[in-house]
């Protein structure tokens, strides 16, 4: 194995993701929705690059070279192209018209103490991540029995790699999407061997990237203290680092769900056409569907919420139809990969195939199954994830969401409720033993929505405001959109 090969393996996708985020943030609406913030770009870059490279590698293997050769040159060209876009357009977009909910105060004593607590805790989590990875270098059951297994087939199968989909046992889930598998296969090809450090590195990128994204997403609207607290509570549950290091796709999926939902919420708030934000939102949402089957449910939920927002103008939503179209455009390229994979390669999903009116209805009407699901979820949410800590925090600090904030919160709240309802229905209708299904997946399924749940908690909570420190910015007359228009015209001076 060539140690230098790690540079293109991990740094190229990171660079592509970073440049692409910079470019999107330079497009109309990108900067205003916080896409240009340094922490956001750094945290998103790894995951975005991994998703993009993975989808491209899949297309390359399907359409050009089934063995995957020469992909390196395509990736290098993409890195240079996105780099050029970022350099050419990146500076142009820095209009500075961000209107955060709290004034950009300097770090004060309280927030510095909390930041130090977060950094020390992150260090401890990183050490635990290392320990888990050292004890299980190939990850947990689903990693070697699914995600990394398919990566091995993609690498070792050569020109015949697609045969695995029709011939692997269904117990190994050949129908699962390929985001992590394709990326790992490509990386193993670069480093010249199946180094287990690569899937572990991918897992780390998503595990710690989610922390950065959540901290930034909450800080952008609610200030540094809330952002840092959200990050602390995200990593506090033992299951977060355990599942993160297991090399499963649940943490990557939660990463994409968080970003796509937060960006869609910001679009709903601004009321302006946000080309950059909407394209990025669509792209990231499509990666969720390229990561796990649950991503298709997520896309359906997001589409339903967006269309409902446009059609009904729920609670004063100003979500424009044009933004929905931009989101669709952003999602289309990767959705093409998902559609081709699902329609041409992947076998059917047993969870759906084994349904029928005579079998499903009795399962749905069985009260004991519902109680069993609720009991398992209550246990996982309280003992596994300390979910009630978020509720207690809300009760103690108080809830604060008015006007634009309420508009921005409705979208993630709707997505969270609908996703949970979808998962609940899947469990209730599942043809498999509910004991087994809940025991093996319940905590991971809740983990997928854990970052989004925390985003909502800290978005809705009243931030600790101290006199003279964090002052709420008085809403400009006509709302933020009118304020930004005035600033663009130069009628407002700062």
């Amino acid at each position: 194995m060539n140690p230098l090969a790690w540079i293109p393996t991990l740094l190229f996708p990171f660079g592509i993701g970073y440049f692409l985020t910079t470019f999107f943030s330079s497009l109309p609406g990108g900067e205003a929705s916080g896409c240009g913030r340094c922490l956001f770009r750094l945290s998103l870059a790894g995951g975005l690059g991994i998703g993009l490279v993975s989808a491209l590698f899949f297309f390359w293997k399907i359409l050009v070279f089934p063995s995957g050769q020469y992909f390196f040159w395509l990736e290098t060209a993409l890195l240079l192209a996105t780099g050029a876009l970022a350099v050419l357009y990146g500076r142009r977009g820095k209009t500075g018209d961000v209107a955060p909910a709290v004034s950009p105060s300097e770090w004060d004593g309280v927030s510095l103490c909390l930041l130090a607590a977060l950094l020390v805790s992150l260090l401890a989590v990183a050490v635990m991540f290392y320990y888990f990875s050292a004890e299980r270098p190939h990850g947990g059951w689903d990693a070697w029995g699914g995600w990394n297994l398919r990566a091995r087939f993609m690498l070792r199968g050569g020109d015949r790699w697609t045969e695995m989909f029709g011939r692997l046992s269904k117990e190994m889930h050949p129908e699962y999407p390929l985001l992590t598998s394709a990326f790992i296969a490509r990386g193993w090809g670069y480093v010249g061997g199946e180094d287990p450090a690569l899937p572990a590195a991918v897992a780390a990128i998503f595990t710690f990237g989610t922390v950065g994204l959540l901290v930034d997403a909450v800080s952008f609207r609610k200030g540094k203290i809330q952002g840092v607290l959200a990050g602390l509570l995200l990593i506090a549950p033992p299951l977060y680092v355990l599942h993160g290091s297991s090399q499963y796709a649940d943490v990557p999926f939660g990463f994409f769900v968080l970003v796509a939902t937060v960006l869609a919420g910001r679009l709903a708030r601004s009321g302006e056409d946000g080309l950059g934000t909407a394209l990025l939102c669509g792209l990231v949402a499509s990666f969720a569907a390229w990561t796990k089957n649950e991503g298709i449910l997520f896309l359906a939920v997001l589409a339903a919420v967006l269309l409902a927002g446009v059609a009904l103008r729920v609670a004063g939503s100003r979500f424009g139809a044009r933004n929905v179209a931009y989101i669709l455009v952003g999602a289309l390229p990767v959705l093409a990969a998902v559609a081709y994979f699902k329609l041409a390669l992947a076998p059917g999903t047993e969870l759906l195939e084994l349904q029928g009116k005579e079998q499903t209805l009795p399962r749905l009407l069985d009260l004991s199954r519902h109680l069993q699901i609720l009991k398992a979820w209550a246990w996982d949410m309280s003992v596994g994830y300390f979910g009630p800590a978020g509720i207690l925090y809300l009760l103690l600090s108080g809830v604060k969401a008015e006007g634009d904030e309420r508009r921005e919160a409705i979208l993630p709240l709707s997505v969270l409720i609908l996703m949970l309802s979808g998962y609940y229905l899947v469990y209730a209708a599942s043809p498999f033993s509910l004991d087994w299904l809940l025991g093996t997946s319940s905590s991971r399924v809740l983990l997928q929505l854990w970052p989004l749940y925390l985003y909502l908690v800290f978005f809705l909570a009243l931030p600790p405001v101290r006199a003279g420190r964090l002052e709420r910015v008085p809403a400009p007359p006509g709302g933020e959109a009118a304020h930004r228009k005035k600033r663009k015209k130069g009628s407002l001076r700062h």
């Binding site: 401890a124 050490v127 004890e135 790699w161 117990e171 108080g398 009243l462 600790p464």
Partner: protein, 139 residues
């Protein structure tokens, strides 16, 4: 009201921060202790163990050749786990549970059963570690 408008959020933040940091470090202590024991015992992960057992067979199987898999393990989850781990080790051959294929990997974790190799099969390769590649005897 004792807890005023300004105090409550600050108190909530402080309590939450203390709780979260404590949880991280309680867990850290437990994980560190377990890892130390793992290293002292020179623990190895199960994937490495199975890969080592299956390594001599990997070169004998053609890509995408379907091969049967049988083991003497009785417990359901352990049996499934060793099958999936063996599939991981032998990819890109396809390993399916059962005896319906001309080639079968027989994976013994205890001593060889009294009957030895099942009738109708001849060993193609004995790895010496309890793993056999068997071929259906031609009639």
């Amino acid at each position: 009201m004792i807890l005023g408008y300004r105090i409550r959020p600050l108190l909530a933040a402080a309590l939450l921060a203390v709780f979260a940091v404590c949880m991280v470090f309680f867990r850290f202590a437990a994980v560190s202790d377990r890892h130390r024991k793992f290293e002292e015992a020179r623990g190895r992960d199960q994937v490495a163990i199975v890969q080592e057992r299956m390594a001599p067979l990997a070169a004998l199987l053609a890509p995408f050749e379907t091969v049967g898999y049988a083991t003497d393990l009785a417990e359901h989850n352990t049996k499934k786990a060793t099958w999936v781990l063996s599939q991981y080790a032998l990819a890109p051959a396809i390993l399916l549970e059962g005896w319906e294929w001309p080639l079968v990997v027989e994976d013994f974790y205890s001593s060889l059963p009294a009957g030895g190799i099942p009738s109708g099969y001849v060993p193609v390769r004995d790895t010496g570690r309890g793993v056999f590649l068997l071929e259906k005897a031609k009639r």
